[in-house]
């Protein structure tokens, strides 16, 4: 059943599986998502990021695996020989539709890519759970294992005020889908700073510093690697946030220029996002061999000197 392909210097075996009735070969160790995408299937993903170990938390990428009682998350399920997978039937569509509705009814997904298109494709109507509720107790003060009994007149949301406690980036957890990527990027998977965590439990689970202190009192080193991985715009450069507030943010007009960080000798790749000849934010390509999307505070935020114009 298995054949071999050579990728770089490694010889890797492939396994044969069936996706939607079609026999496909996939590299051993790859995921069902890889295999599905390689064979041209569109599987929506939300919490999945290409630089973080899949947490399979959002459950929008679920596919049907024959022999499995439940659907399986394609982002993290490894391919096995002989698997029979269905990516697009009533069960998977129902699951994706409901996940989109559950998130759409509780989280502000206005800046999350593709959601509007998927909602349409899967017939998701987040509003059928009721009008969103924007009145909340402080989510940071939630008591674990206790909640106020809802009366059903509105649909509870994770709405809360935007956290602005430093000059570099803001945290708008009304947009947080709890993908855990920022926590993993801050913690053991990249930065090893552990400034943020998931606190609380259930619907009250939220991203937080210890005792919800301001970032300035936390261990945050402002590397901005959490912003880089955030898929929903919950974490955002202050420059972008302010321009959006002013209505001047204009992404189609922006240019992206790749360069190398000028500060130290590591050679991190930077992508400068420029609008009206001003750098408005800095990212790094997630597939770059040096950075994998990660930078330090200098590369991420230290661009002001470029645009200090003495004549002004």
């Amino acid at each position: 059943m298995s054949t071999q392909v050579t990728t770089g210097l490694q010889v890797r075996r492939t396994v044969e599986l069936t996706i939607d009735g079609q026999k496909v070969n996939a590299v051993e160790g790859s995921t069902l998502l890889d295999a599905c995408r390689a064979s041209g299937k569109e599987i929506p993903t939300l919490c999945y990021g290409d630089t973080i170990t899949p947490k399979n938390a959002c459950r929008v990428c679920m596919v049907e695996l024959e022999g499995s009682r439940t659907l399986v998350p394609s982002c993290s399920r490894k391919v096995e020989p002989g698997m029979v997978v269905n990516t697009n039937n009533e069960r998977t569509s129902h699951s994706r539709k409901l996940v989109l509705e559950l998130l759409g009814s509780s989280v502000d997904l206005s800046l999350t890519k593709n959601v509007a298109r998927w909602n349409e494709g899967y017939g998701a109507e987040p509003s059928r759970f009721g009008a969103p509720s924007f009145h909340h107790d402080d989510r940071d003060e939630a008591v674990t294992g206790h909640h106020h009994q809802p009366d059903g007149s509105t649909a509870e949301t994770v709405h809360q005020p935007v956290k602005i406690d430093n000059n570099l980036y803001i945290r708008d957890y009304s947009k947080c889908i709890l993908c855990y990527q920022c926590v993993d990027a801050c913690g053991e998977q990249w930065q090893n700073t552990f400034a943020i965590t998931t606190a609380g439990r259930g619907f009250d689970a939220r991203i937080s510093t210890e005792f919800a202190v301001d970032l300035t009192d936390s261990a945050c080193v402002y590397c901005g690697n959490c912003i880089q991985v955030c898929p929903t715009g919950a974490l955002m450069f202050t420059s972008e946030y302010e321009m959006r507030q002013d209505g001047t943010w204009n992404e189609p007009e922006q240019t992206q220029t790749d360069t190398i960080c000028p500060y130290c000798g590591v050679g991190c790749a930077l992508t400068l996002h420029v609008q009206d000849n001003t750098i408005v934010k800095v990212t790094s390509p997630s597939d770059h061999s040096v950075t994998h999307g990660n930078l330090c505070i200098k590369g991420r935020f230290g661009f002001q000197h470029v645009q200090n114009r003495s004549s002004e």
Partner: protein, 602 residues
């Protein structure tokens, strides 16, 4: 990692609580002295990181001493265990028995869950001021139940049940609880020598190893050592024993899978996080026959090649903790535990690990994270625990009742055990009967008894009560109606009838019980206990609760059809797409009430 610690410092009593567990700080950075040569001492890296499993015990130590976890305390623990304060905060806020806000030293937890609210109307808004509403405390046979925690140098945990509202108010005011109830009171069949799992309850002192041995204790372990590990697994496989925690996985197959792993470091976990509302059988076993659990764990470890075992005990079971601690100490002193057990060359020891108020930690992979010092979030499967479990090693996870069944299997052979029961359900089963019966308690029956026979065994329905419904299997189980009394309580019959035995809950609800209120409590329970990791469960449990609230108001109207459809949709996505069994079963009981009891279909 460089820790960034804010300025808040621990108080003397917080420090002493931490030090009582971790020993005094030796490192200079933590306030320790220079060593005799005058050098500063600092450890780090792996030697500190390998202590992460002490995080929950350390949080317990502080919580037991001062009642809550302050910033200073968390900073100090952070320095001692080299875990970032934010990381510790995330763990601490996961567990309901911990609090990161200052609270009084004395906490009165009043059960407002299914059995207690059905029997006494104990609800969130009806309990006395100052009391804390609690999910099921596992004392359903004496509903309503209260757990008092008084923190201090010698913390006191007391259970009072049944408790009147006046008594609860007195407890809140600081009065001490009455003396503890006789354990045998929870087993109406006791004392009865002919019982298999409950034979010692009410006959044998649970604190005496001599009485345990005199009543047949450690016969099974001796025989196990005599016949060898492989034969033990063969006997367990032949017995047809399946897990009693709710999932009914064949125990022999699980053991064989671990025994065949190439990795030799292996662990055994006894899942004693009994938190399914209505379940209290494991509590009775651990309180009333603790040596039986210690012995059966030793056999399980011997058979599967595990070097160490954990009892993951729910934090709300103070008496089980005390009796098990005593049993483990005595077993060690008699060479029944520890090194070279019974001269066989086999080494095995047991650690009791206290849970801290999280139903989800009864999920087998959530237990791993909890013991390892993380938030009790379930892991993705595969890999399965038998391959990659606790600390990444092959791990056997068995429920208390499952393990205790191993003793008669080894003593009398698996074939003899398999003669008990039906084709599809072998052996003895404990049922937790609560609600409107004359003699609520834990009952041991041979598989094959019907629901009616079990209720008769429990003294029948109370005078003046007429049966409205029975909840089988707890909040994750399902309701059946009076027409189902002849249901055979076996795995196969329950499955065929579209219901489940789950953890053995049989909650008898009479005409006075508001089923809709029970459903709303079930919905609230799952919302509170969801770990929050996956969307179908985290948001689905909230939407389910909201839809129920609307149905209560609009029952029978056109709007209710919309909400009933919403509930069905939610049920399907939770069942299909949740990470673990909690989300997958969070709609079961509600679904059964809609379909079998015809709730909301007026």
């Amino acid at each position: 990692m460089d820790l960034k610690i804010a300025s808040a410092t621990a108080t003397t009593s917080e420090k002493s609580a931490v030090d009582s567990l971790l020993g005094p700080a030796t490192e200079t950075s933590q306030g320790g002295e220079r060593n005799s040569a005058g050098y500063r001492v600092a450890r780090g890296g792996e030697s500190l990181r390998s202590l992460r499993h002490l995080l929950l015990p350390t949080l317990h130590a502080v919580n037991d001493r001062v009642g809550w976890l302050s910033r200073g305390a968390i900073n100090y623990i952070s320095q001692r265990l080299d875990i970032a304060p934010a990381d510790i905060y995330g763990v601490a806020t996961f567990y309901a028995l911990f609090d990161t806000n200052e609270r009084p030293a004395r906490q009165v937890h009043v059960c407002i869950d299914l059995a207690c609210r059905a029997m006494s109307g104990c609800k969130e808004d009806s309990i006395p001021n100052g009391a804390i509403a609690s999910p099921c405390l596992g004392v359903c046979e004496r509903a309503p139940a209260v757990l008092v925690i008084e923190t201090g140098v010698t913390p006191r945990y007391e259970v009072l049940a049944p408790a009147t509202n006046n008594e609860i108010a007195e407890l809140v005011a600081g009065k001490s609880a009455r003396t503890q109830q006789d354990i045998a009171a929870a087993v109406p069949q006791a004392p009865d020598n002919s019982l298999v799992l409950l034979s010692r309850i009410g006959r044998v002192d649970p604190l005496s190893i001599d009485e345990y041995i005199a009543s047949g204790g450690y016969v099974a372990l001796r025989r196990a050592i005599e016949i060898g590990a492989e034969q033990v697994i063969k006997e367990v496989t032949a017995s047809g024993l399946v897990g009693r925690g709710g999932a009914a996985f064949p125990t022999g197959r699980k053991w064989a899978a671990v025994a065949s792993q190439p990795v030799k470091t292996r662990y055994l976990i006894c899942n004693a996080d009994e938190s399914e509302p209505g379940t209290f059988k494991d509590r009775v076993l651990m309180e009333g026959d603790p040596f039986a659990l210690v012995e059966s764990m030793t056999i399980a470890a011997f058979a599967t090649g595990c070097q160490h075992g954990w009892i993951y005990l729910r934090g709300e079971y103070p008496r089980a903790l005390k009796n098990l601690q005593n049993a483990i100490t005595l077993a060690r002193s008699c060479s029944m535990l520890g090194e070279n057990i019974l001269g066989s060359g086999f080494d095995f020891d047991i650690t009791i690990f206290r849970g801290a108020g999280a139903y989800i930690c009864g999920e087998e992979t959530a237990i791993f994270n909890s013991i390892e010092g993380y938030r009790g979030e379930p892991r993705n499967k595969p890999p399965f625990p038998v391959e990659v479990g606790l600390f990444g090693k092959p791990t056997v996870v068995n429920n208390v009742e499952t393990l205790v069944n191993v003793l008669p299997i080894i003593t009398n052979t698996g074939d003899k055990y398999a003669t008990w029961g039906t084709t599809g359900s072998k052996g003895k089963k404990l049922f937790c009967v609560s609600g409107a019966v004359n003699k609520p308690g834990v009952f041991e029956v041979t598989f094959g008894a019907t629901l009616r026979q079990l209720i008769d065994l429990a003294g029948g329905i109370k005078a003046g009560s007429s049966l409205q419904a029975v909840l089988l299997g707890g909040a994750a189980g399902g309701f059946v109606g009076p027409e189902d009394l002849d249901l055979e309580l076996t795995l196969e019959a329950a499955r065929a009838a579209g219901t489940t035995l789950g953890s053995g809950v049989v909650m008898v609800l009479d005409q006075t019980v508001d089923i809709v209120d029970q459903l709303q409590r079930i919905a609230a329970f799952f919302r509170d206990e969801s770990c929050g990791q996956c969307v179908p469960c985290r948001v689905g449990t909230v939407r389910q609760q909201e839809a129920l609230a609307r149905l209560v108001k609009s029952s029978g109207s056109q709007n209710s059809a919309v909400d009933l459809q919403l509930l069905r949709d939610l049920g399907q996505v939770m069942r299909d797409a949740s990470i673990c069994g909690l989300g997958q079963t969070a709609h079961n009981a509600i679904d059964s009430a809609l379909t079998r009891l015809k709730v909301f279909s007026a």
